[in-house]
Amino acid sequence: MMRTSESEHESFPWRPKTMRVTKIEELHCLAGWRPFSFLKVSTDEGLVGWSEFSMPFGGMQLSHVIRAMSGLVIGEDPQRFERTITTLAATRVQSNGGLVQITISAIENALIDIKAKALGIRACDLFGGAVREQVPMYWSHCGTYRLRNAADCNVLPLRTLDDIVKLGEEVKASGYRALKTNTFIFKDGEIGSYRPGLSRVPGHPECNIDNEILGGMADQLAALRQGAGPDIGLMIDLNLHVHPEGLRRVARTIAPYDMTWLEYDLYDPAAMARLRHQIDMPLASYECLFGRRVFRPYFEAGSADVAIIDVLWNGLGESLKIAAMADSFGVNVAPHNYYSPLASAISGHFSAAVPNFSIMETDVDVVPWHDDIVTPALRVENGCFILPDGPGWGVEVNEEVVRAHPVPAPRAN
């Protein structure tokens, strides 16, 4: 039988009285072309915890799930967050994963922020401390946002292969160790983004590979390699835009460019393992997987060289459990991080705490007010994320900045 809060206070007199969650709120902003969504959890002690649940299709869609779960979180003690999320998971086990998990994870992360603040320690210190204080990062979506969202980011659009060469030079000068790009298509003198696996564009829903796509990929990577030089790591993320048939041909096409990794998602551990053995470069995957149970068959099959973990969608606690499993399978981990600076702080604590760490993702092309979303601003030096000193994540969300960029209401049609 669990004790009541009153008896717990009497029994543990040497620390502040038991805390209770009093309120759960959401904040959303539109950062150019994409929304960022934040969870704010308040307590009776006055401590506030932050987390993020940004989704490409809009975190606002989680509102109902959040409200439904809030009833099981209000009144709980953030210092015992594992008990809270274990119960939440059990109540929804028949609908596990997806939006349910993202919501539970957002709750876990906010509770972790509160718990660490209550103890006066950094979030990573709750889990054994930092193995590193400086986290090497790579420049993600390199060039991708300059195709359609250049104006949002106050950068020049990417129009030609020469622009791509210059972009490679820019990465080399930036201090980031590596860059990750996506598939570009070159058509009618324009460069576009090839993403038939994620949206209704030409190529959807078949996701067939063709020689034109492969040729464009070769040109794109050749240009990036030319500009960046031999020492910058190159990665490309294929998401689910090709089938295994196509991935094998992609790997063959891009092999000359000395790839750090090829990133791909596939809901078939055995097929992915086969690909890993067949291609001539490291395979990275798993950004869409939720929880140890789902990761398990992929680890057992040896499906990927690098395990990408989304720390927002899994929660820091669960992410560290996944990373500990990965360690046992000889696999290093890399956080999936392309959201607001709060997400970078959360991913940064994850990256600091794991021995088996690969490299941290970050977006560099962002809206001009991106860094202002958190206080204090995150520090990046020589391409490395510097772990903040403060308790919890070490940053707070700047509500004024968030409210200054609201997400417009959806149109009627």
Partner: protein, 409 residues
């Protein structure tokens, strides 16, 4: 905060030493851990001294970083004493870290899930065959004594009683432990039919005393080969045991046993780290994972339990040492959702509570201590006043039963 000194102390534990590690810091905070030099871990204190020297001057709260360094330094000698030394050092660090934050160790990571922990009586009555005077209890000499002991266990509301193998030897019951080299010569570990019958009668006697509600288990350690385990398990099936506990370094052999019998199989107390548990999880060798906090370290034990969860395996924390080790094991049990039980030997030498304060036990449950760190008081003066003996090995060997006729001296 910096570590200034690391020191082992050994107290008399009756038939073995109680070994404690004391870690001191420049801020006055002291961390303790209990470990065993008696778990096949000969020379462990020296290993702790050597590895511990690397931690002097380090911050005891940066545990993952230091453990990683020590594992790297001992990578070519995986498991065994190196791993157990890192475990003991890490456990001291957790005590310091938690005390500095004024919380129980279980409050770190995800926090406390439960503060009332179900107890299983491990090695039920086994030490009463040889050390009853040291334990301050009536001896167990006969099968009738076993039934009485089981009745007592049920009356004390223990959820389960787990027995070792006790066989008649020289007119009284003794522990059967040829796998540990008792009797001077190791035997071939065959499961003779007479032995199987005797074990069956032993478990029936336990069931007579315990009644139907109490769970029963048999712990065979490493005293049989696979074929013997299968024969024994099948013979015991009618007794509705909750599990048979086996120590094995072979995941496939254990999986074979598990597939051959309806009795659940528990194992793991002699496994070190996620790396050693993983093949057992993958091979489907276990129903229940037995995890040893003193010999793995708190964080590693936690990670093992967390890795067991996606295999739908619950965890027993194994305890066979003193009050400090019991408290350390209890902290793990407080913190994991997938807990099966806290396994404790219950009986202890009469002076145990002088050395380390006793955890609170009510109705067969351990109540998590209301105190920072491990939550017990270590009485250093009392430990120093009762130094370990030097003749435990001869005592231990004399009190075990010979393995079989061939091993009689």
């Amino acid at each position: 905060m910096r570590i200034t000194e690391i020191q082992s102390l050994h107290a008399d534990g009756g038939w073995r030493p109680f070994s404690y590690l004391k870690m001191s810091t420049d801020e006055g905070q002291v961390g303790w851990a209990e470990y065993s030099t008696n778990f096949g871990s000969i020379g462990l204190s020296d290993t702790i001294d050597r590895l511990g020297a690397r931690l002097i001057g380090s911050d005891p709260r940066q545990i993952t970083a230091k453990v990683s360094e020590l594992l790297a330094a001992t990578r070519q000698s995986p498991g065994g004493n190196a791993f157990q030394a890192i475990a003991a050092l890490q456990n001291c660090m957790f005590d310091i870290k938690a005390k500095a934050l004024e919380v129980p160790v279980a409050s770190l990571f995800g926090g406390i899930i439960r503060d009332r922990i179900e107890l299983h009586w491990s090695a039920c009555g086994a030490n009463r065959t040889a050390y009853s005077d040291l334990l301050g209890v009536s001896p167990i000499r006969t099968i009738a004594d076993v039934t009485t002991c089981a009745r007592d266990g049920a009356a004390r509301h223990f959820k389960a009683l787990k027995s070792k193998i006790l066989v008649s030897h020289g007119g009284a019951l003794r522990q059967y432990i040829p796998g540990f080299g008792s009797g001077g010569r190791p035997t071939a570990l065959n499961a003779e039919p007479s032995l199987v019958r005797e074990i069956t009668r032993l478990m029936e006697a336990l069931r007579d005393g315990a009644g139907r509600k109490v769970e029963l288990m048999l712990d065979v350690d490493c005293n049989f080969r696979t074929d013997g385990l299968i024969t024994l398990a099948r013979a015991l099936e009618p007794l509705d045991l909750s599990w048979i506990e086996v120590d094995s370094i072979d995941p496939q052999a254990l999986a074979l046993l598990r597939n051959a019998t309806s009795v659940p199989i528990a194992s793991g107390e002699t496994l070190y780290g996620r790396d050693q548990f993983r093949p057992f999880f993958e091979a489907g060798s276990l129903d229940v994972a037995v995890v040893n906090v003193p010999s793995n370290g708190y964080a590693e034990a936690l990670r093992i339990a967390q890795m067991a969860e996606p295999y739908e395996i619950n965890v027993v924390a194994h305890h066979h040492l003193g009050n400090l080790a019991l408290a350390m094991s209890a902290q793990l049990c407080a913190a994991i959702p997938n807990l099966r039980a806290l396994d404790t030997e219950v009986d202890s030498v009469t002076w145990q509570d002088e050395l380390v304060s006793a955890p609170e036990i009510q109705d067969g449950h351990l109540i998590l201590a209301d105190a920072p760190g491990w939550g017990v008081e270590v009485h250093e003066d009392a430990i120093r006043a009762r130094p370990a003996r030097t003749d435990y090995e001869t005592r231990f060997d004399r009190n075990a039963a010979a393995g079989s006729a061939e091993a009689v001296a």
